[in-house]
Symmetry: C2
Subunit: 326 residues, 2 copies
Amino acid sequence: MKMPISEAFDLAVEVLRGGGLSRQGAEVVAAHLVDAHCTGHTFAGLPRIPTLLEGIGELTGGVLEDPEVIRETATTAWVDGKGSLGYIACQKAIELGIAKGRDQPVVIVGACNAYYSGRLGYYAEQAARAGHVVIHTNSSSAAVAAPGGTRPVLGTNPFCISFPTNQGELTVDFSTAAITEGAVRLAAATGEELPPGAAIDGLGRETSDPQAALAGAILPWGGHKGFALSMAVAALGVLAGGAALPNEAANHGYIFVLVRADTFLAPGEFQDRLDLLIDYLRDGAASVRIPGEQSSKRRDRARSEGFVEVPDEVLGELRALRDAQV
Amino acid sequence: MKMPISEAFDLAVEVLRGGGLSRQGAEVVAAHLVDAHCTGHTFAGLPRIPTLLEGIGELTGGVLEDPEVIRETATTAWVDGKGSLGYIACQKAIELGIAKGRDQPVVIVGACNAYYSGRLGYYAEQAARAGHVVIHTNSSSAAVAAPGGTRPVLGTNPFCISFPTNQGELTVDFSTAAITEGAVRLAAATGEELPPGAAIDGLGRETSDPQAALAGAILPWGGHKGFALSMAVAALGVLAGGAALPNEAANHGYIFVLVRADTFLAPGEFQDRLDLLIDYLRDGAASVRIPGEQSSKRRDRARSEGFVEVPDEVLGELRALRDAQV
């Protein structure tokens, strides 16, 4: 059903608080989920809550701590997620990055000891709106095999880069896996087939059967090059203090590099020039997708209408969770 | 023939000087070409010289200037290539980055107004050897169509990231195009077919005919995601002051971000942990390629033997060029 955004936010906060989050923590996560929902990334929105609550139970035993800044300098900050949610650690990280970036052309923030941070674009775009070019990566636990391999060795390791323009943010945000874990689980639940080249079974044979894929692994996107990029995301996770081996679900490593858009060019010049490039690309092919543009338009529409569409069964599940917690 | 590395270097310097480069400039370029040759990237090695000389003639009218540092701070530097060779501008850029990185955990250097810089890994690895994690990108002039497009709108826009390990550098260095321009030209010359999905003809139809591809465009690697990454490399080129529209062959934009490997972890800890990850990946699949490893082994062997293999026809061409210049 269509529900007011503020009501969706309040419901999310309530259910997350019941799961052990502080009011502040629950608000950070709920804001992220509602934003994902508004941009049309529904599965990264409110439907994520039950999975998050399960993860909190399994990975932290329900003990949730606030992230802590271990060390900082004028151009760096290091955030320890204390084994809790990546959403909260990454929100802290990007806010530190933006604050430091007021005085510094280039800043790096690392975060570790946290799991699952949602959409990378959510953090990167906050910094892009503050005038930064942002590179953001997230190493995660093993789900993807090497080309020719038979078992998962790397995470779905997403890579994101966002740029300010005069028309909103240009945000490239993609998984280095051919398909997300969520999509495999969804296909398993609905009985649909996986696209070709997306997964292998437990013997390393390509498969379109999601059940077989759950016993095997996802394949990297784009063959050897994609796997190499995934390796780079994993190594950046190590730089941030995340798990060296991709077998610790609660120790993702997150990197945020922020560069002021006016580091070299005059203020506003980067945005003007990037607008020229985007218009040029649009002229080059009717089918060209400007990354992040659709999400941004969906968000604007949802915000101006004040409503978000939440599937009835999700709403029912969340209300049941809330009522069970009371 | 097998020739002493020093002799190959001297020959390259001589021919490049004859093409208008200063002694210092010629030595910078020759060192790069000989290194590429030693790592087995033969086409980025000595055989590149005739094409470079043609480019110098066409793009600069033979007037070559030394790159200039337009502006610098403790954590940034901006290099103007003065319309000359990217090799020289990028070598200056990485040396500035490394010098600044002695005192700073994170540094950004931009370079623009230059064309063709050779292998990105060459620059990134110098900084990795000095203990930095390095992200290096290079926007270039149009050769690649958008998926579904009919004409080139973006460059082959390579992306590189290099990490120090205890066993050498882990270097991810790839073109965001399905195939290089050089490979299309080589196939056209030898009459070979292009691999499927690599190029389109002038009407936007996929083709394996290199002649048809020269009238059309190369396709991006990895579909929409690869094209999005290419767009990001183009936007980073704009950040560095490169051409906004990818139609200026002599105004590539280059970005170098250097992060000290001990920014968050203790000195040496990043390298130790990355070694663990690499060993783990190697165990995960017999076929896993550790990016940069083969090149590095080839370089070590060539350097220890003191010889490099230069095809006879290339040697003949270079000697003829040298003799014609005298």
